[in-house]
Amino acid sequence: MRVLLVEDDVDLSRQLKLALGDAGYAVDHAADGEEAHFLGDTEPYDVVVLDLGLPKIDGVSVLERWRRDGKTTPVLILTARGAWSDKVSGFDAGADDYLTKPFHTEELLARLRALLRRSAGIASATLSCGGLRLDPRAARATVSGEPLRLTSLEYRLLHYLMMHQGRVISRTELVEHLYDQDFDRDSNTIEVFVGRLRKKIGPDRIETVRGLGYRLTPLAGESDGT
């Protein structure tokens, strides 16, 4: 497994390189944002450990560039700023996990293992509907190439609609597939989730068929598989 370690602090880099090496990773190290971006762009890493406070280009920008270029390598961000707003902006840029400094080396290793397990076997058949794409194995969705930030309930709703796109699906049917147990089976909640989904994927993709339910269709003029 190849890991890219991006950290500007000399001592911390040395320690982490040692620890990662001991854990069986092949480690490449970058000490600034420019180098990190270049390495991440050219080498096929399995996972990236990215410090956010970097010289030249900051970590969030590096991550944003990778994601814009279609790199899906899982990224764990290290941040000294433990504020949730920083974590949120890291996630918005495309991070998969975060770790607040100071941290225990064992925890970093555990998080990396988890990330690698999750990302294993990502390439799989994706569902698509117009500019919407959904990868059921990775549980990720995109609209016009932009990653969608969905909660698991929203994701499940979208998944079901995409599997049955073009067909009108009743609220009752959706409720049954949204919740695994007999929990909160109130069909009004479907309206709530459809409303949230529309906010995220665009208002016109999910059509309300009065009295019957909902239908997912590609937008007019949008070709499938973009």
């Binding site: 602090d9 001592d11 911390l12 320690q15 982490l16 040692l18 620890a19 406070g53 000294a80 700023r81 433990g82 504020a83 949730w84 707003s85 974590k87 949120v88 996630f91 918005d92 998969d96 996990d97 975060y98 607040t100 400094k101 100071p102 941290f103 225990h104 080396t105 064992e106 925890e107 555990a110 988890a114 397990r117 999750r118 549980a139 930030r149 969905l150 909660t151 698991s152 309930l153 909160d184 909640t189 709530v192 949230r196």
Partner: protein, 482 residues
């Protein structure tokens, strides 16, 4: 806005009452209205007094002229000799008719300053005109002039007639002793006229006065409207409905509005600067702490153990004090409104990703228009820590519900289906902050920062059992009006 409705009987009405009838110094409106009203009342009262007294005077003057004419006629008709005084008939029917309302009399002064009537008009019907005690003396003092006075009415009921009397001391040729000529006229009509005029005048002035006071009231209300509207805007800023003063105002108070905005900006700037300092300090300290932790962790022995333990303490202290400073700096900030649904969504998406291996499912519900009256970063901090905590302990499910409770408050409930927390440990958990989550990996302190921030916002946090099986955290926070 129903501020404190239910508590005080009706604060709006009380305020209106106070505005008009309290101490004048405390309200501009009141001051302006009272001042204008006082001037109006004084000016109108003066006008009324002048009009009525002028009218009365001219009425009396008219009466006086009539009386003088009568006296002249009597003088002409009088034939005086040292022995006798006779008055010929005056060609005027009115003084000939009994109790007609017009009278005359001729008298002479006797030695003891009294009057002795010599002749009288037939209208007197045997009665005598009343004479004030000092009249003879006054007549003697001013021979030839006419002295007028009011007589309350010399005649018996039912013909009580208040009279206006004129008396004049004149010397006639043919008689050495001067004679007193008197004429009297009923003043009932004149008095009625005067009274009617006064009633009319005062009514008209009262209507005019009321009209003016209403006009002043309206003028003040309309004139001060920009001030009231500015006050409402500032209140909106305080309640978190608006961030700045947005409307434009008349040039007299526009500078005030601008100063308020500048103050808000300054406030914002100060807070931002403080946050930057705090962040820089955190960043500067945390990387060295990481190095120490990693270095100590890689070696065995008493010294590395001690370093590791102390580093943990330092880390906790740094977090604690920095967050405390941040919490204190922020809670005073005005005018912020954070939509809670947005924050819940970003937290849910992020935490589900972080806890993906556990496949934790976060089900959140909040009305779209519900806002937190405070900083977005603080709400992120509060909800992030609570939800992360819930995710750590949950087996699979985390539920977050937020809703308004009225009175500018809202409640957020975070529940999980984990093992929960026994009732006797809850108090301690809140007191000490969140040492209890040390058994699951990740930094502690989650709950302590939540408690601190919540308190800084004047909110409240309670722990209870969830029907999902785990812990239920109830959070009361200030809500911003939509």
């Amino acid at each position: 806005m129903t501020e404190g409705a239910g508590g005080e009987a009706n604060p709006e009405a009380a305020r209106t009452w106070g505005r008009w009838f309290g101490r004048p110094g405390r309200s501009l409106t009141r001051r302006l209205i009272w001042l204008a009203s006082a001037w109006i009342v004084i000016a109108l009262a003066l006008t009324g007094w002048m009009l009525t007294s002028q009218y009365q005077e001219s009425a009396l003057r008219r009466l006086g002229n009539m009386l003088a004419d009568t006296i002249d006629e009597v003088v002409i008709a009088t034939n005086a000799t040292p022995e006798s005084v006779t008055v010929a008939a005056i060609p005027d029917a009115k003084t000939d008719r009994a109790l007609s309302g017009e009278y005359w009399a001729v008298a002479e002064l006797d030695s003891e300053d009294g009057l002795r009537f010599i002749a009288g008009s037939p209208s007197l019907a045997g009665e005598q005109l009343a004479v004030p005690r000092d009249l003879p003396r006054r007549l003697r003092a001013a021979t030839g002039t006419t002295i007028s006075y009011n007589d309350p009415g010399f005649l018996h009921p039912p013909l009580r007639q208040p009279l206006r009397v004129a008396a004049s001391l004149k010397s006639l040729p043919g008689r050495a002793e001067p004679l007193v000529f008197m004429a009297a006229i009923d003043r009932t009509n004149i008095e009625n006229d005067t009274r009617q005029f006064a009633t009319f005048t005062w009514t008209a002035l009262l209507i005019l006065g009321l009209g003016l006071v209403i006009a002043v009231f309206l003028q003040v209300q309309i004139g001060l409207r920009p001030l009231f509207s500015l006050r409402n805007e500032i209140a909106d800023v305080r309640k978190g409905k608006a961030a700045r003063i947005a409307r434009s105002y008349p040039m007299e108070i526009q500078p005030l509005a601008e100063q308020v905005n500048r103050l808000l900006d300054h406030n914002q700037e100060t807070v931002e600067r403080q946050r930057t300092h705090v962040g820089n300090l955190a960043h500067a300290l945390k990387t060295p702490l990481s190095v120490m932790l990693a270095e100590a962790g890689s070696q065995k022995g008493a010294l590395p153990d001690m370093v590791r333990k102390q580093t943990e303490v330092m880390k906790a202290q740094v977090d604690h004090h920095l967050r405390r400073a941040r919490a204190a700096a922020r809670a005073q900030l005005l005018g912020e409104r954070t939509p809670i649904a947005e924050v819940l969504d970003e937290m849910a998406v992020m935490l589900e990703r972080v806890f993906e291996e556990k496949s934790v499912e976060i089900d959140w519900r909040a009305p779209d228009d519900l806002g937190f009256r405070g900083e977005r970063q603080d709400l992120q901090e509060i909800l992030g820590n609570l939800m992360e905590n819930a995710c750590k302990w949950a087996r699979r499910r985390v539920r977050v519900t937020a809703g308004p409770t009225g009175l500018g408050q809202m409640v957020v409930v975070v529940e999980d289906d984990g093992p929960g927390l026994p009732a006797d440990q809850r108090e301690a958990a809140l007191e000490r902050g969140a040492r209890m989550d040390e058994t699951t990996p990740g930094s502690g302190l989650g709950l302590s920062i939540v408690v601190e921030l919540t308190r800084a916002y004047g909110g409240r946090i309670t722990l209870a059992d969830s029907d999902l099986g785990g812990l239920k955290v109830l959070l009361e926070l200030p809500a911003a009006e939509a």
